[in-house]
Symmetry: C2
Subunit: 645 residues, 2 copies
């Protein structure tokens, strides 16, 4: 029996007999590990833990914590849902049932059966019952003819339609218990891994997304390997509902949408515009200190610009349609890069000028389908915290390091404790096809990127074959205070655009040389970031970032004049304050200030007027007692300076 | 002989015999006045001073200083040019010859004659010779048939084509000397008023602006009633050439155009973007103190928004063409108003919330023909210092006054000493047609506008029948340091949009009430204003507005470290400084800093390093001697604070 070499992620190599399974390899390491592995990644492809490995391979044992582990888990859960459905609703027909970002769904045709979310409990119970049976997911290669025969007999038109597009010799079935599905896999070792089930909601979904087709019933669900994880997830969802940025945005008068403006195009009300301005000022001063220069570019450009950059025709579907003017097509910009490249090219550059760092809060426009728009998270207008750094190869590592330091600085300021950088690399086999053919540059920059991440002790995962065409990139994932994941913009290295735009600097040898380019946007877009912050802070923007920092609450009309005096002092110190001069009781004024999430309230009455003082109440109820106006100003200024969360 | 009543601009009324001429009326006042009048405005129409006045009339005697006086002067000068051309180039044929903003032109067909700008002197001499003859401009009503007969005999196809469009009974000829022209007038009393002549340049111009027609020769010229005025004008033109904002913009690296971006769409290089940011910060803090709130709106909107505002279809030619998305037409915004109205409407308003003042540096896009684009002065992307004020009728006067005060404040800061506000009113006869039918609102607001202007002692002229459809407006004309005139944005009152957008607030009686709206943009667009400032300052932006305030000039490499120490101190005080660390002689470094218009230069050598001091040289050469770094910082900070010009 011949041996194969298995390389593990830590670089260690072990020899095994050919045909060994991932499960057996895990067992050879520890029993606990074997219990926890869900699937295996063999030379970049995810397979079941019971599939034999026949050649030398890089092997990663996937657990629940791995993205691809979760995805396998939820894909198997969709099959479990289908099995339960078939048991309870005989004759139900099945469309597709994939894993999604958080859970899975299955599109089904229930025929004459009645079904509503009230039936979820029964279905969940059935799923758990079947899960407990520890049914193994059995894989079977099958000929196209036999597959068609099977679904003809079962009378499932959807699977038959899916089969039409599949190539004979490439078709597999998966069976657990009595349920058989047309499926490429991979799947869990057995259903027993699924310990907690929650069906979330029902929706209508056109077969194959085409509104000319029949509307199927889509059942969304989520499953976990532990009951406690499901509970935590449901608590998080509950909390996320309360912190829904769309509701908070409306309640706090941050932004609005309007039918005459258009979907995905938010209008920023004064408070929203104030937050934007505060974020921009913070970014501008931070970036100024980091040596960035600011530039400004128009929101449109000729077609030729995007042909040059390569965005046209490839990216066309994500751009707004062109406007034809004097026989020339103009496009709304979907990204700022080509404009910045033109600014770089507008004046001659020598190596002494490098690195050049151009920053702009440039608004870009991208086409998203109406159905995919979602509050501030998926929009059509994007105000981006954009910058491009043009540097020499020698400067690259220091520049990339500085960019990462900027990310970390920002995360700290906004109280983002959990983040992961996803380092996407090229695949050497695809050089010249999917990736620009510059093997040395790839190796060099990927090594530099990895070094920066390792040395800065930044949590990161390496992913093969997910780089951009023009260089390695980093996707930044962050988690909000309630544990929801958000993807911020990427941080990318670019070898290609300098060539396309004929960008160069004169090097020390008086020759033309191409700069390397770094694309970066640590604060993402205002839209996505403010949407994130609304959830993260539950609308309670910290003092430094709150459009209204102080509410002055005179306890009666008599103290209006004194309130104005206090207001003027605060204004002189650039403290954002308003007087609540309504003829309401103080209790009501406090409740309203709480509703508006104002961080500080000043109660102003006889005593305060006599003493030239203010009585300070913090949001949430903490009483800071009485203090002089000056002491209050100092308190506020100190907290603003520290940018406390 | 019956009498008529003549009302003069000061309101005085005089009785004269019917048929009296403006010249005779002027003579009845003073001989000097009679000598200086060029034309007369009788009930709103400009006529010759020798035309009989047959009815009671409002009369304004027009002099050279009046806009319409100049226009008449230059129109007559075009005829004089034609007379001279006909004398020197027999058989020349004439297109049209109007007065323009600065002078006049005539489009001519020279047939086989050769002509170049080298012939200007000869032609100018001939014009002056004819002018001295004090030829009277004789007006003659003529039938269409006779007019056609005349130009047929003269063999002038252009005049014959013009005649085709004219109505019989409405045609007049004007003759001076031997030259007869088809013309509506009005004209000077005689050619003797023209004392100074300068032909400026030659251009090709298609007949009737249609490139399918023959190209004629256009001769541009200007004339004056005094030689000294021509000399001053030529000096100003010379200076304006040196201060050409397009050249300075390139030299100082303020902005650039790029073929792939598109005509009229400037890219702002770091120094330009810095000036923009400084202007915006200044405007934002000034406007914040004046009670404005900032908002942010997208650069596009659905067609329905502009149909609602009334910009479509009327303004369509000035807008970019639509983009069609999901079957809906989207337009780039050509103005911010409709977006702001939507923001006003997004949250309920009570009378206690008013006045609401929404400000935004919103970038608008307007279509200008390629041939009409000119540097930053005529562009297609406009970053506007825009704001809309929503107020009650009772608040209007105070608000309008505050807006005017803001204009004056800005003018003072930028050293704009000469300005005129052109107050455009409605015509009561055109209510319900050209003007919204609200006679009381017109009277009320026009009176209030006039009061504000009179009380604030602001120079202004009143113009009938030039208001906007929806309310009176003020156009602001300013003059640059070398005396060139620029028109800034307008300041408008608006009764109509609140109705169209169903904007209201709840008044004290708990009823819905429409607000009045003021549109204002004192700093115009960044494009036009920075273009103006480049000429106004000859590129020498004052310290507070200069993207680079200080140049540090180490006299050798030895003082690089000390220079960096000084630089860091300046940076800590937010002073914008750069080190010139090239291995060049100090003299060369000073010359380059002068070229870059840097206001302050610090010479740093042995003495300075030992003393911890700097030697300060001002732009232009003034030597401020040595001082401590701290003293220099204080000097700079004091000058910035004062915003000296």
């Amino acid at each position: 029996m011949s041996e194969i070499q298995i390389t593990l992620p830590d670089g260690s190599v072990r020899n095994y007999n050919k045909g060994i399974t991932a499960h057996e390899i895990a067992l050879s390491i520890s029993e606990g590990l074997a219990r926890n592995i869900i699937a295996a990644k063999v030379n970049g492809t995810v397979i079941e833990t019971n599939r034999p490995i026949e050649t030398d391979a890089h092997l990663q044992l996937l657990k629940w914590d791995d993205k691809e582990g979760k995805s396998t888990f939820w894909h198997s859960s969709a099959h479990l849902l289908a099995e339960a459905l078939e048991a309870l609703y005989p004759g139900v027909k099945f469309g597709i049932g994939p894993a999604i970002e958080n859970g899975f769904y299955y599109d089904i045709d229930l025929g004459d059966h009645k079904f509503s979310s009230e039936d979820f409990a029964k279905l969940e119970a059935k799923m758990l019952e079947l899960a407990k049976q520890e049914q193994v997911f059995k894989r079977q290669a099958i000929s196209k003819a036999e597959a068609i025969q099977y679904f003809k007999e079962k009378n499932d038109p959807y699977k038959l339609e899916l089969l039409e597009d599949l190539e004979d010799g490439n078709i597999t079935f998966y069976q657990q218990g009595n349920f058989v599905d047309l499926c490429r896999g991979p799947h869990l070792p057995h259903t027993g891994h699924i310990k907690a089930v929650k069906l979330l909601n029902l929706a209508g979904a056109y077969w194959r997304g085409d509104e000319k087709n029949k509307q199927l019933t889509r059942i969304y669900g989520i499953t976990f390997p532990k009951k406690s994880e499901l509970d935590a997830h449901l608590t998080m969802l509950e909390e996320a509902k309360k912190r829904d940025h769309r509701l908070l945005g409306k309640e706090l008068e941050i932004f609005a949408f309007d039918d005459d403006i258009g979907p995905g195009l938010p209008l920023w009300l004064p408070k929203g515009a104030a937050i934007i301005e505060l974020l921009e000022n913070f970014a501008k001063s931070t970036e100024k200190a980091a040596g960035y220069e600011r530039v400004k570019s128009p929101h449109i450009a000729k077609e030729s610009l995007y042909l040059k950059s390569g965005h046209l025709p490839y990216y066309k579907d994500s751009m707004f349609p062109p406007m034809e003017l004097d026989g020339i097509q103009y496009y709304l910009k979907a990204m700022n890069c080509p404009h910045h490249h033109k600014i770089f090219a507008a004046t001659p550059k020598s190596y002494k000028d490098l690195p050049v760092r151009y920053a702009e809060y440039g608004t870009c426009y991208r086409y998203e389908k109406t159905g995919e728009l979602f509050g501030l998270m998926r929009v059509r207008s994007l105000q981006m915290n954009d910058a491009h750094i043009y540097c020499t190869k020698a400067q690259f590592e220091a520049e990339f390091k500085a960019v990462n330091a900027l990310y970390l600085k920002y995360f700290k300021v906004f109280g983002i404790d959990k983040y992961v950088m996803r380092f996407s690399k090229h695949d050497p086999k695809k050089l010249g096809q999917k990736y620009i053919n510059a093997p040395e540059l790839w190796k060099e920059t990927e090594d530099m990127v990895r070094n920066v991440l390792v040395n800065a002790n930044i949590p990161f995962v390496e992913v093969e074959d997910e780089a951009a065409f023009y260089g390695p990139k980093i996707d930044i994932q962050i988690w909000s205070a309630i544990g929801r994941e958000f993807t911020l913009a990427t941080n990318q290295v670019d070898f290609a655009q300098a060539e396309r735009f004929d960008l160069y600097f004169i090097n020390e040898k008086s020759e033309k040389e191409r700069p390397l380019i770094i694309h970066r946007a640590p604060l993402s877009t205002h839209e996505r970031f403010i949407g994130f912050l609304l959830e993260h802070y539950a609308g309670k923007f910290p003092l430094w970032l709150n459009p209204q920092q102080v509410s002055l609450l005179p306890i009666s009309d008599k103290y209006q004049e004194y309130s104005e005096k206090v207001l003027n002092i605060l204004k002189k110190h650039d403290i954002r304050a308003l007087i609540d001069d309504r003829s309401e009781k103080t209790g009501k004024k406090i409740r309203d200030a709480e509703m508006k999430k104002v961080p500080l309230m000043l109660i102003l009455g006889e005593k305060e007027q006599t003493d030239n003082s203010v009585t300070v109440r913090k949001q949430g109820g903490e009483d800071l007692g009485s203090m002089s106006i000056e002491a209050f100003v100092q308190l506020v200024e100190a907290e603003i300076k520290q940018q406390l969360n």
